[in-house]
């Protein structure tokens, strides 16, 4: 076991954060700048500088998120994709995902993405309902979203969309309509999120003021359970709390996070896990740029985690995967036996019907446990 002490997984994944957006939506707390296209030139130089020192590693997955990566105009997009291609070597059969907003999708852009090797598109659709889209401050219509999905499916093939449920004022019927529209589209993957009110967002203060009200908890639970049912009937397999995929279309990049693999990351607010260190870049785009330009390190927070913490995190985040986790694999890869150090908390979760043991050394969330994943995770974290 001693030999494992300082062996950390070699990153085989990379996340690039593009902070630019046309508009910051009321619920969004990501590292984003709206209406600051003047910073794009500086950003391209800065992120290129940040990536240069990595020495063009081979990665299995690339994920370009935001913000809105497709907010770049076609020329800038061309340069950006070219830069990414220079800084990383995507392994054979690698997965390269770009997040995109429906209103940015043109056949020109989508063709460009495909030419550079982007083979997965994640579209921030959120809803097809005009009222809900307006409330969420999204800039597209149902028609635009549908067209974007169809175009992306035709050119890129592997398309995922994000949908938000439990928005203020939304009923179960509203949500089921959104789902029905979604499953008619040529999708390989769906992520569904209950709207979360994050501190520091306009939605948070609007809710504090009483201006916005979330649907009740039981309505939210109903929406979630119906989602699982409806998507299962359409052959989307529920493989993580908020992720559903057709046969082999699971998002490999996200799986890397949940399975405790290492990954590189660059751009403002981006989080990486390299050599046992969890690091987050400065969230402010301008600070990030200043730091990069003056030769400083863009990292705002660094945390060197212990082996035990590593094992606990792998268990806590891994258990969010519906198939569960193989504790033996976890032990052999971390040197820590979760079955031992968490025996009480696992036992408690089992006795409360939150966790099941499908086969020896495996644990997974039960039907009920899926609704209490935070409770289970919290116990595993100790």
């Amino acid at each position: 076991m001693d030999s494992l002490v300082d062996v950390w997984p070699t990153p085989r994944a990379a996340y690039l954060h593009v902070p630019f957006c046309r508009h910051r939506c009321g619920y969004c707390n990501f590292s984003v700048v709206a209406d600051r296209d003047d910073l794009i030139e500086r950003y391209l130089k800065a992120i290129d500088k940040e990536l240069r020192i990595l020495g063009r590693p081979v990665v299995d997955t690339l994920f370009v998120g935001g913000g809105t990566p497709t907010h770049f105009d076609i020329k800038t997009l061309d340069r950006f994709l070219g830069m990414v291609g220079q800084r990383f070597q995507l392994a054979d059969a690698g997965e390269w995902t770009m997040e995109a907003n429906p209103e940015d999708i043109t056949s020109e852009k989508i063709t460009l993405l495909a030419e550079y090797g982007v083979n997965r598109i994640s579209l921030g659709v959120q809803s097809f309902n005009p009222n809900k889209l307006a409330l969420l401050e999204r800039g597209h219509s149902a028609q635009v979203a549908t067209a974007a999905v169809e175009l992306a499916a035709e050119v890129i093939g592997n398309v995922s969309i994000d949908l938000i449920f439990a928005a203020p004022g939304e009923t179960l019927a509203d949500w089921l309509t959104d789902l029905e529209l979604a499953i008619q589209l040529p999708l390989q993957h769906l992520s569904t999120y209950a709207l979360t009110f994050e501190k520091g967002t306009r939605f948070w203060s609007r809710r504090e003021r009483g201006d916005l009200q979330s649907p009740t908890e039981s309505c939210e639970v109903d929406m979630y359970q119906r989602t699982r049912q409806v998507l299962a009937e359409s052959l989307f397999k529920h493989y993580e709390i908020s992720s559903f995929a057709k046969s082999d279309a699971r998002c490999r990049h996200n799986l890397a996070y949940w399975q405790g693999c290492g990954w590189y990351a660059a751009g403002p607010g981006a989080a990486r896990f390299v050599e046992g260190k969890r690091e987050v870049n400065h969230r402010s785009t301008t600070t990030y740029l200043r730091r990069m330009e003056s030769g400083q390190c863009p990292t705002a927070e660094t945390e060197k985690i212990t082996r035990e913490q590593y094992a606990r995190e792998r268990a806590a985040f891994g258990v969010r995967m519906i198939d569960g986790i193989d504790l033996d694999v976890l032990t052999s890869e971390t040197g820590i036996s979760i079955a031992e150090i968490c025996s009480d908390s696992i036992g408690l979760s089992i006795s409360e019907g939150l966790v099941e043991v499908p086969s020896p050394h495996w644990i997974k969330l039960s039907e009920r446990g899926i609704l209490f994943a935070d409770t289970v995770a919290s116990r595993l974290l100790g």
């Binding site: 569904t192 999120y193 908020s242 899926i370 974290l381």
Partner: protein, 599 residues
């Protein structure tokens, strides 16, 4: 010598200007120069106030020349909160006279009356003093008349002063010398001295405050504390002028201090008598009647780790305040703490305030309760200091509660409101007297529990702050009382049990259940909050089970943030108290305990 001594104290309602008057007297007698006054004395007093201990019975000796004679005037300060009959009486025993100080605008207040009666009981010479005559709204003539009506003092004898400006202080000093009798007591007799207070000096050990009743005490003398049975050698003797100033001896009638190398202040018992060591000691003085604690509450540190700190702090307070007692108590809900007994509500508030100020301990206080008496089926009478000790209804023959005589002084406009309030609180009116054209004193017999519950606050609010309340024990009377329990999923929450009138049980039970329900976080199962008398449930509220606890999205950047969030929530859980399988935060208890059904 002793014919030139005058021992007196000042009794007054809070804010009627006692401290300012004391300052003026010190200044007028030249004990403290006006220049030093602000720098020295007030700072010192401020410090005393911060520590809150010695201020209760500060003694100052002032030498003053009048008509060719030098007088020794000893001012023995009574506690700042003069409604402590017990503390006041400690000072009174050492005096021959009192200055009864009344504000020229506020007039006679409930506590003024109580203190004046106490002085009369001790057969002390009373000098009525009307203070603050410089105020624009001063009404000294009316106040003199109020004093005559309520206390029987002669309006012509009232000395009118302004402690602020110094007006009238000269004639007050003359009145003290002329009217207060000199102490009697033979300086050659066997030593007999009253211990009326003590404090602790880090370098000198215990400082014992004494009034010499008879005999003389000298440095180097062997003395004994009669009640404690301990012997000591006197290392230093002195007077307070107002700082400690040593002298060779203290004679009958004098007031001062002794330092005897006593390491622990716990070895000095207030009310003890000092005499010479060995055989042939003087008779012990009557001492002080042991105070009766009428109000009890539990005090718990809000963080369990402060327990020993709280114990130390309580010990420190108890040493200088023997009227306060405490014993360890364990509560399922609040952990380790103490059940504390107080003379009354104000006493309780002051102790609590001191604990928080002096020791920086966050306290959780259970609802105050009075001492009940229960006659059980076997005919035994038991005193009950905490609701948890009330036996099952089936074992109670008679449930008795303390009744107090409540005096409320109010402006005439508010008489109706106060009477209505007192009646609602099961009061029985005894009398109503008009003190002057503006104000009246209303007297009721009311269960002490009602007074403790919220009567004082309610009187203040229904009289816009003008009403003042004082009370004294009358005795115990049987009443239709019951213990009201609060249960969480069938388990009794000991800290929330109260004794109340059966007729109020429904209302109070519902209110507490409702409030507690709102404070309990949802669990994975349903939580029932019930109010019950014995096995009979009278109110129920339900905290529905949590249906989910899952955060939808979790991407890479979230891992650290989310882990911290989950761990923070867990930390919060650790500090919760478990009642059965239900976790309740301390905040919840505090919310339920702090405001008694304001809704």
């Amino acid at each position: 010598m002793s014919e030139n001594i005058r021992n007196f104290c000042i009794i007054a309602h809070i804010d009627h200007g006692k401290s300012t008057l004391a300052d003026r007297l010190l200044e007028h007698t030249g004990t403290v120069a006006r220049r030093e006054m602000k720098e020295q004395l007030l700072d010192d007093l401020e410090l005393e106030r911060q520590r809150g201990i010695t201020i209760k019975a500060r003694a100052v000796a002032m030498d003053f020349k009048l008509g060719g004679k030098t007088y020794e005037l000893n001012l023995i300060d009574t506690p700042g909160h003069v409604d402590f009959q017990y503390e006041v009486s400690r000072s009174l025993v050492c005096c021959e006279g009192v200055l009864l100080l009344v504000d020229a605008f506020q007039g006679v207040e409930a506590q003024t009356v109580a203190n004046a009666y106490a002085a009369m009981e001790h057969e002390l010479q009373i000098i009525p003093v009307i203070n603050k005559i410089d105020l624009t709204h001063a009404r000294p003539d009316e106040v003199a008349e109020e004093m005559m009506n309520s206390l029987g003092t002669d309006p012509d004898e009232c000395v009118r002063v302004s402690a602020k400006t110094g007006e009238g202080i000269e004639s007050l000093v003359e009145a003290i010398i002329a009217h207060i009798p000199a102490p009697t007591g033979d300086a050659d007799a066997i030593l007999q001295a009253m211990v009326f207070d003590s404090n602790y000096d880090d370098y000198r050990g215990a400082i014992t405050y004494v009034r010499i009743m008879q005999g003389t005490v000298r440095t180097g003398q062997k003395i004994q504390f009669l009640r404690a049975g301990t012997q000591h050698e006197v290392v230093e003797i002195g007077r307070f002028v107002p700082h400690r100033e040593s002298c060779a001896e203290l004679k009958a009638g004098q007031v001062g201090y002794l330092i005897c190398n006593i390491k622990s202040i716990g070895d000095v018992h207030i009310g003890d008598t000092i005499s010479r060591a060995g055989s042939g000691a003087a008779e012990p003085l009557p001492g002080y009647a042991r105070p009766k604690r009428m109000v009890y509450c539990g005090l718990f540190p809000s963080d369990g780790q402060d327990f020993s700190e709280l114990r130390d702090a309580l010990e420190r307070l108890a040493v200088n305040d023997p009227s306060f007692e405490f014993e360890p108590e364990t509560s399922d809900a609040l952990g380790f703490g103490f059940r504390c007994g107080f003379l009354g509500l104000l006493h309780m508030e002051i102790i609590q305030q001191r604990l928080e100020n002096e020791s920086d301990i966050d306290l959780v206080q259970t609802a105050p309760n009075v001492t009940y008496e229960i006659v059980n089926k076997r005919g035994e009478t038991i005193s009950i200091h905490k609701p948890q000790d009330v036996p099952d209804p089936g074992d109670i023959e008679e449930f008795r509660q303390p009744i107090v005589r409540c005096s409320v002084i109010v402006p005439n406009d508010f008489i109706g409101a106060v009477m209505k309030l007192c009646q609602e609180r099961r009061g029985i009116q005894q009398s109503q007297e008009y003190l002057g054209a503006q104000r009246a004193m209303i007297t009721y017999h009311i269960p002490l529990a009602e007074v403790v519950y919220d009567l004082h606050d309610k009187i203040k609010s229904c009289t816009r702050g003008y009403g003042t309340l004082d009370y004294e024990m009358v005795g115990y009377e049987a009443a239709d009382l019951c213990r009201l329990d609060i249960m969480v999923n069938g388990n009794r929450v000991d800290a929330l049990s109260v004794v109340c009138n059966r007729a109020d049980a429904d209302r109070r039970g519902r209110a507490v259940a409702k409030k507690l329900k709102a404070e309990i976080e949802r669990h994975m199962f349903e939580v029932a909050v019930q109010a019950a008398i014995g096995s009979r449930v009278i109110a129920r509220e339900t905290v529905p089970a949590m249906r989910k606890n899952v955060t939808a999205k979790c991407y890479g950047g979230d891992i650290t943030r989310k882990r911290k969030l989950l761990q923070k929530q867990k930390e919060g859980k650790k500090r919760m108290k478990a009642i059965g399988n239900v976790e309740i935060s301390q905040k919840a208890f505090m919310a339920v305990l702090s405001d008694n059904e304001q809704d």
